[in-house]
Assembly symmetry: C5
Homo-oligomer: 166 residues x 5
């Protein structure tokens, strides 16, 4: 299969992360993508690192516009102070606007520093959420039926699924 | 009638829902639309499922721009934590901007997980609100006089109507 | 006068209201406009009704872009729960953006359900505010000197004027 | 000098104010501009009055786009209730967006009704802030070195300067 | 090297600061940039001063569009009152939108007046954060591998780094 498709342009998945986060979210996302079918043949991954989560939006937009990304996974860690929540809001609005300007999905993967007091639990949230959304990005491009099959199922990333209402 | 109109392009109604919600809101909306006059002849329905409610806006925009939807019903369930309210705000702003960029209505159908503690009541809110707004979408395209007749009447979706002021 | 101007295209004033409101705000606005000089000759009124106040923005934009409205009066009633305040904020942002995208004024006429506990007072606020802003729309198009003469005068709509600082 | 430049188009400074404010802020701004060097020869002033501060943004945008203003001073008075703060936020966002859409500065001059309980003090804030920002508008167009010289100096409008950190 | 490149257009880094801040943040940023390799040969710095932090966004946009800046460092000091937090939010949203409209990064460098009660500590935050983000701007243009190497390392500006999660 790869020999036939070698000359068709590969789909690009963008990954953008930050120096500010206290976990290497981008590495987790890239590792997950590397395990998806067709990695390196039907799709490739392009990455950027920016200072903080408020710098993600324009970087994601440039991954789409200049690097041709068909979808972007944008990973960041808002801190726990009230001002951090406001900054997270601004960062999210930016990611929303970037998506609408480019008509291209950007999956926002934010882990709030105060989601757990236990560093081990927090690390697992970072790891799992980054991986789950990387997988979602792959599904959105190549296997949308995976999403459809889970519609309304209370699916979560980072913690256990809530499940459907009973 | 259908034989005459077979060659005219059918109007498309878009439906986008999420894996995150704990109820299959998209199924309820699609079922309601299937009961509207002209289903399959004068209009068809196109659907997408995205991970969460913050992913609805760009998906709705793409249903309009790429799938030709004349209106979109966007269904999601914000959770009950404070951060979920902020995310709901961002998701709503995105849906608002998507409408203005495309000059096309997107009906936001959000059921907040904390609207009721009783799962049975909450399920009925999911069901009714999804159906009511699907019906509203149909009316906006084909029977605007239905909306006009109810102007200022305190109409609600999900719970009972508030009715006009007395 | 009307015989001379009969062939010049009439100015259009748009009115958009909701099923959600508990008072027929659109009827009050239209009635006020019908009492303004030149109604039906120098200007006409075009109306739409939408489900709720978050649907006003795109409807107002379409009244401008597709129906040629030179100004729009957008009428709605936010409810009294905290989530309603957030929704009102989103609706207002949408109306703001719609104005800036079209370079056309849209007068936001919102009556919050909790402005009075007394239904009779609330009804008078609905009536007066809807009428006052309809009049403002007329002034903005045809008699801007009326606005200029009241600059800094603490003019209010719905309740009594605050008046200038003493 | 004026004889040489008589035929070059004069720079336009826009002023927009409201009926809602309880002080004639536009008059103070215009009076200050009338005292700036080159008033009437190198620059002129164009004014509009709108109903309230949420109407400032589109009016400012039209002063730029239709009246050719190179900068606009937008003056308004948010009230003291919580809902007024939210409205002020929406008005500010509109002024921000209008600037970015036109790549033209709009100086927001807001005096909050609750900045002082003393009407005499509040009046002086209205007067001083309106004048200071009118002067800033002049400086931005014609004497940017005045701004540069005050960088990081804790300059305020309306109340006394905070001064640089000690 | 400089002799070869003399005729190639130099990259421009923009710096915009305010009169409102109580520290000369722009001077600190410019001094840091003057110490970066290639200052004056491979890149130059262009500056503007505006009244307050809500004026930064359009000024930054103009540095990009009219002065050709490839990146902008935008420096400001929000005050400590609640209304200042709201204004900071509006200013941040403006900087976010300006980035997305120009597809060009603008590094927001805000020091909140209440980050420390001790003027000496606050001054060091102003100094360090302004310098760190000026350096980040340089890295983003010329040494992106510096950012990549620090991904997920809990890097801070102004105070000590938080470091990665343990």
């Amino acid at each position: 299969m790869s020999s036939k498709k070698k000359k068709s342009p590969k789909v690009v998945i963008g990954v953008v992360d930050t120096m500010f986060a206290r976990f290497d979210m981008g590495a987790a996302a890239r590792d997950e993508l590397a395990q998806c079918p067709g990695y390196g043949s039907k799709f490739t991954v392009t990455s950027r690192t920016v200072p903080g989560f408020k710098d993600l939006a324009v970087a994601a937009k440039n991954l789409i516009e200049k690097d041709g990304a068909a979808i972007v996974v944008a990973l960041g860690m808002p801190g726990s102070a009230p001002i951090d929540k406001q900054c997270a809001h601004e960062a999210s609005q930016g990611l929303m606007t970037a998506q609408l300007m480019t008509s291209t999905p950007i999956l926002e993967v934010f882990v709030h520093e105060d989601e757990s007091d236990d560093p081990a639990i927090l690390a697992s949230v970072f790891e799992n959420r980054s991986r789950s959304h990387a997988r979602n990005a792959y599904w959105m491009l190549f296997e949308p039926e995976q999403l459809r099959a889970r519609a309304g199922q209370g699916v979560r990333q980072g913690f256990a699924d809530a499940g459907p209402l009973r």
